[in-house]
Amino acid sequence: MTLSRRGLLAAASAPVLMSVQDALAQGVAPRRGGTLQMMLTPEPPVLQIGVNQQGPTLVAAPKMFQGLLTFSPTLEPQPLLAKSWTISPDGKEYVFSLQEGVKWHDGQPFTADDVVFSITKFHMELAPRARAIFQLIETCEARDPLTVRIVLKQPFQPFLLMFDATAAAMVPKHLFDGRDYRTAPAVQRPVGTGPFRFVEWQRGNFIRLDRNEEYWKPGQPYLDSIIYRIIPDSQSRRLALESGQVLLSQTNDIEPFDIPALRQRQNLEVHTAGWEYFSPLSWIELNHRVKPLDDARVRRAMSMAIDRNFIVNRLWFGVGKPATNPVASTTRFHDPAARLPAFNVAEANRILDQAGYPRNAQGVRFTLKHMALPYGEIWTRLSEYLRQAMRNIGIAFEMESTDAGSWARRVGNWEYETTINFVYQFGDPTLGVERTYVSTNIQRVTFTNTGGYANPQVDALFLRARTSAAAAERQAAFSEVQKLLIEEVPQIWLMELSFPTIHDRRVRNVITTGLGVHKSFDDVFIAG
């Protein structure tokens, strides 16, 4: 490949990000046309975002539905359906100016009324995550057809992060208002403002989206259509990608142990960027109601007995990073100074000896049940490694296996001792980290503080960060809480997860934002 000087400069200044301009600079003009065949795993039940918020829906729906904003890899807001916005100095009033000339796929104009409906009614009714944030809204009004004004009851600094399509997609008021949102006909034939419109879904087979000829960005999208193939077996998915029958794999399409082989293939590129907004963090989930997991010394020792580099390099083959604290390094307010103690088996054993947990004749201090995460082979391998690591410090893990339904039910009902969990952070600790550690969120529901950890100091610090309007004050509170949490280790963080996006070299502009494959794909093209 020959690079022009401009191309080299562009590549040097933004090594991860390749924008349309960079592609142009390299002499690759966006080419119009072509069908992008991808995979979607597992098959979602419905594609109407809001009605369903599962991972595959969050990947496919943003091709049809858009948010007011999207986010760069460093989580700076970027205009989408809102072309500009202002925030009042007290951090309570947000005014969005909408793009002109935007139409729904059925030809109706997109207006401020749709925005108000989506925020105050649709997502408030359906989506728990949006509901928790949008209840802070005092007024939300359409000032004119292209201006929306939102006033909050109190300043809430991470508010803008809620306006990506995956958090609060804009939906057509005229198709939902006055109907049961879950059963409205539009749920089966989604209508959005995005670059692709819904055409066909043969269940168990494929989903087809075609170019929206009326799309508001001139000249885009470049692709004629997008086809998601449903391929349930991971080895068949790998074969489909290797043989060129599909051009792109994403999220958990490909098992981590297949990645080294795919990296060797000349026709494929492997990317791990594009997860900055979600920043999933995995951990051993501990139930603090089970003794001796309520003892911080035990939790610290368990954490020290784990070789996180082994997990990243030998199990995930380099996709992801070792966790250093409860806030992922790609999430805002991560404090690099707060680091978990290093891997040290001897020290971990010493802590347990001193804490009064002697080994019995078989060398076992105590036994804990461990439920592997039923989301694929890789998680079973992780749990097997952890059993080995715990055996080194005299803790016996008794393995339990479940399926997804039982896992969710048991974690939600606190009927477990230890398991594996991973949770999205949504760019800001108030949105995605706080929920696991504050005592006010101990609920019998998955992804709340199901472990039952309670510490008034932690509660107070998260509250201060939540209600403060000043970034500096929030950083101070978050830094302090990160230091406190690595002392207490309420959950044993393992890895900052990333999921590989693997695609044919001819497919361009795939990862350009902090949302990776969750973006609209309006600028993606297949080079000739």
């Binding site: 928790a132 269940r203 074969l239 043989s243 997804a404 019998r444």
Partner: protein, 328 residues
């Protein structure tokens, strides 16, 4: 078979079948609800965020907030009026979901069935005629190999050979997507996609038929009426076709009857490996998602098929072997 006895036979068997199917429906309902977790908790677990209200809304929408016996009664009433219910998870009537996937499964299992029966019986006959010689050994070894090998492994090996290495056949799916094909081209396209999954599924059953045919033919070949036929100078080919094979077919029909009843259930493994959009995967996904209505619907259809094919097999016996009489 006396035709006059047929209506009474069918009536008695029909009543029995209805009772059996009803019992199956009730058992299935109880079993499914005994599994830990419900659709609401699955969706909450997959959504990455949830609250109490979210769970309550889902349970109300799915009708899970009603007492258990009321849920059972509602379902039974539905089944009695041939209404299989509604999948709230997928927002589609269960019958739509099943009927969308039924043709794919029937095509796959039908092709595999036809291939297994014809090739199996032919190979079994060949082996029996050359018993103890090299052709017999080759056929027996092949049959045993496919009988003993895990079906998904056979599938993956076929894919590696024919799709990856030779690049002759597609490795997954039921048709080329994104290209408009019509008429003969479309049929050929589906045919190309069908070869590998049908062969994978068929090879296992082929082994069964070959072994079964060979064994019963050897048994029959020793009997007196065969010796008599040979003694009176009937040509060898005719002896095999008319005297040996026809008598040896009864156990094969029994087994084919059982297998035909299972056709609708398809093969979850083959459908998974080849991404074939059939009923088996629908049921498997529904099980993982605790999509009760869909799972019960699939169970209902499969049990009806099994009962139906058992009845057909009984009738077929009487046709093939006049000594067998139909009896309720």
């Amino acid at each position: 078979m006396e035709l006059s006895r047929l209506p009474g036979f069918l009536l008695r068997r029909g009543i029995k079948a209805a009772v059996v199917i009803l019992a199956i429906v009730v058992c299935n309902f109880l079993l499914i609800h005994a599994a830990p977790g419900d659709p609401a908790s699955v969706i909450a677990g997959q959504s990455g965020a949830a609250d109490e209200r979210f769970l309550a809304q889902l349970r109300e929408q799915f009708g899970l907030d009603k007492p258990f016996h009321v849920q059972l009664w509602i379902y039974l009433k539905g089944v009695l009026t041939l209404d299989l219910g509604f999948s709230h998870r997928q927002q589609q009537p269960v019958w739509t979901l099943i009927s969308d996937r039924l043709p794919a499964t029937l095509l796959l299992t039908g092709a595999a069935f036809a291939f297994a029966v014809t090739a199996g019986v032919t190979l079994g006959t060949l082996a029996a005629r050359r018993v103890g010689r090299w052709a017999d050994s080759v056929i027996t070894v092949i049959a045993l190999t496919f009988y003993a090998t895990p079906i998904f492994w056979v599938g993956l090996m076929l894919v590696l050979f024919f799709s990856v290495w030779l690049e002759w056949l597609p490795s997954f799916g039921m048709a080329t997507v994104g290209v408009e094909l019509s008429g003969l081209a479309a049929v050929l396209d589906v045919g190309k996609h069908l070869i590998l999954p049908a062969a994978t599924l068929g090879l296992f059953y082929l082994a069964v038929y070959a072994r079964l045919t060979r064994a019963t033919m050897l048994e029959v070949a020793d009997q007196d009426f065969v010796k008599t036929a040979r003694a009176k100078g009937v040509p060898e080919g005719q002896v095999v076709r008319r005297h040996v094979l026809r008598n040896a077919l009864l156990p094969v029909i029994t087994f084919a009857g059982i297998q035909a009843g299972q056709l609708i259930g398809g093969s979850i493994l083959v459908e998974t490996v080849f991404a074939w959009p059939g009923i088996g995967r629908l049921a498997f996904d529904a099980l993982l998602a605790r999509d009760y209505a869909v799972l019960l619907g699939v169970f209902f259809c499969t049990s009806v098929m099994v009962v139906l094919f058992n009845l057909l097999t009984d009738l077929l016996y009487a046709v093939v072997d006049p000594r067998v009489e139909v009896e309720g």
